[in-house]
């Protein structure tokens, strides 16, 4: 029974990582850049939903939609102002800029909403499903997060694989110059990528804070890094990989805590990551491609 309840805790923690990792991997797969500000866009999304549902008493669905709209606009703005001027700069410069954007968002949030933690009201309630005479409980949020994760993963796979925009995205990720010559608007395509990634961040933020209800300006930072780890673990750029990576990371973390030591849980997670990357450098589902430099 302990094993099962740990497994469920691991799955629900992992599904939160997975849903954040989807945004990371999506942006990386298309724009070939690590958007370290993703975690902080999540935080902004959660704040918007918090204010909508708690302060203005709007229904949760409206709150989530509003958060998605705000995050989409924010994501496109960040891309336009911070990343677009660096399109031809080295990838290191872009990564540093992304870290700068992350700090900017955190401190802006602190100025706007103060550093006092707020308690997020779950958008789906706190109901529990009890099994085996109440010896095993599963929270509804965990189920919704996992479902949302699968739906988003499927939708993204379909979108990048089948639609015209998706084809344009794949073309851009392969060769921006050639894509432009074929008549694809590269800047627009990348903006759309950021818009989708940021809308996903809003959903992730709402689900993250529904599961772990403390909301502060630094809320997105650590889950963001863990989710980035999950994305690399699963093979960054691969959409199913992000999901598997996230779930595995959550399960390893909880099992590490439960069966080995609460003190060493993070060390165990990163040790597993390092070993995986030594054996499979592209991550679990990453494509081994040769790149001409």
């Amino acid at each position: 029974m302990t094993f099962l309840s740990f497994l469920i805790s691991g799955l629900s923690l992992g599904s939160v990582y997975a849903i954040i990792a989807l945004g990371y991997t999506m942006v990386y797969g298309i724009a070939k850049m690590l958007n370290f500000a993703h975690g902080d866009v999540i935080m902004v999304g959660a704040y918007v939903c918090f204010f909508a549902t708690t302060r203005w008493d709007l229904p949760p669905t409206v709150g989530v939609l509003l958060a998605m709209v705000v995050c989409t606009v924010l994501g496109v703005l960040i891309e336009r102002l911070a990343y677009k001027p660096l399109r031809s700069a080295s990838s290191l410069a872009v990564i540093i800029t992304a870290i700068g954007v992350s700090y900017f968002l955190q401190n802006a949030a602190q100025l706007l909403w103060t550093s006092n933690p707020k308690v997020f009201t779950s958008v789906v309630g706190n109901s529990l499903i009890k099994l085996f005479d109440g010896r095993l409980t599963i929270s509804v949020i965990a189920i919704i997060t996992i479902t949302a994760c699968i739906v988003i993963m499927a939708a993204l796979t379909w979108f990048t694989g089948k639609t015209k925009m998706g084809k344009a995205m794949r073309a851009c990720s392969e060769d921006k110059g050639a894509a432009q010559l074929m008549g694809i608007d590269v800047n627009f395509t990348i903006s759309v990528t950021f818009a989708i990634g940021s809308a996903l961040a809003a959903i992730a933020g709402v689900l993250l804070c529904s599961a772990y209800p403390t909301l502060m300006p630094t809320t997105g930072a650590m889950p963001g890094i863990k989710a980035f780890t999950a994305a690399v673990f699963g093979g960054i750029g691969s959409i199913p990989g992000a999901m598997i990576g996230g779930l595995l990371l959550g399960i390893i973390e909880i099992f590490g805590k439960g069966y080995i030591s609460t003190q060493l849980s993070d060390a165990i997670v990163f040790a597993v990551l390092i070993i995986t990357l030594l054996v499979k450098p592209a991550g679990l589902l990453g494509k081994q491609t040769t790149e001409k430099v």
């Binding site: 933690p117 308690v119 650590m222 909880i254 993070d266 081994q288």
Partner: protein, 395 residues
Amino acid sequence: MKKIFCVFISFVLIIGLMSGCGGSDSASSGDGNATGKNEEPVAVAFKLGGTGPLTGGAAIYGNAAKNGAQIAVEEINAQGGIQFELKYEDDEHDAEKAVNAYNKLKDWGIQISLGSVTSTPGVATSAETFSDRIFALTPSASATAVIEGKDNVYQMCFADPNQGSASAQYIVDKKLGTKIAVIYKNDDVYSKGIYNTFASKAKELNLEIVSTTTFTEDSQTDFSVQLANAKSNGADLIFLPMYYTPASLILQQAKSIGYAPKYFGVDGMDGILTLENFDTSLAEGVMLLTPFNADSTDERTVSFVKKYKELFNETPNQFAADGYDCVYAYKEALETAGCTPDMSAAEICEKMVEIFPDITFDGLTGEGVTWAATGEVSKSPKGMVIENGAYVGMD
């Protein structure tokens, strides 16, 4: 391709390292947060400075202490007599930045110090104030290492060991629980310090600790494993030596696995009721040790809380009250010693070292407070229990 993955791996490691280095997640500039617009240098004033986390993850504590001190300074300056000029520098809850912030205060001409708000930076700045002979009275850096071996560093809050052993004593005296679980934050000197003394006192009193689990700054979201461990070991009381943000998550997650032990917290638990949108029914019956109660009805507390709410739009916590008390304690000590603002920091320091062990101070956080020559305050922790969303004294 290989190269890119080298970059990935090194980034993962670097980020891991960075996040392992402690609380501060933000890197804003340390400047520009000083107060000072409200103090008009009419008469020559004592230059009073302190460092605290004004930005970053621990900003709530630094800002509270700063705001509390600011109210006290305004009140005292309005009375005439002794005048203060207050300046707070941001240390982002980081030891190295705290020393830089302190050096900035020295350039400004600091005469008396409020030390640092939190313990980790406090240990670093107190070593500096000791060697520079600047007297320091910290509102809330409660680790013993802050005052240890330094004759001119004093604390306004009660020290960590005091809290740990007082908690164990309380639990035994009041027969609150027989099987104790402890969850503490093992990368935090405050939490760990309290845990250590609690554990040794519990051993002395034959109080059985059945489960000890930890978490860190980076893993303070999911407590399911820690709670499952406590539950399966049959703990009937969980001791939580930590700040209230992770504690609120523990209360919520325990409820979601259908586990309802008693909870006992320390002064960091104070403030849990002020969490915006917090379901206070979760905290029903939680016991804690705190020196300050914002709902208290005595005149000074009421007027302080009212002023604080007007100015900063929130309910003050014990950090604010400690900051406020520090300034008043300084006023009393400076008056008793007959210090004047034209004296040098070292001269004031010698006077303060002489006078502080002799004064008795009445403040928001305690009546008849005295200090030992080691810098430790005599204040005894008060037990409180949360009933119907308010603190009620346990004695």
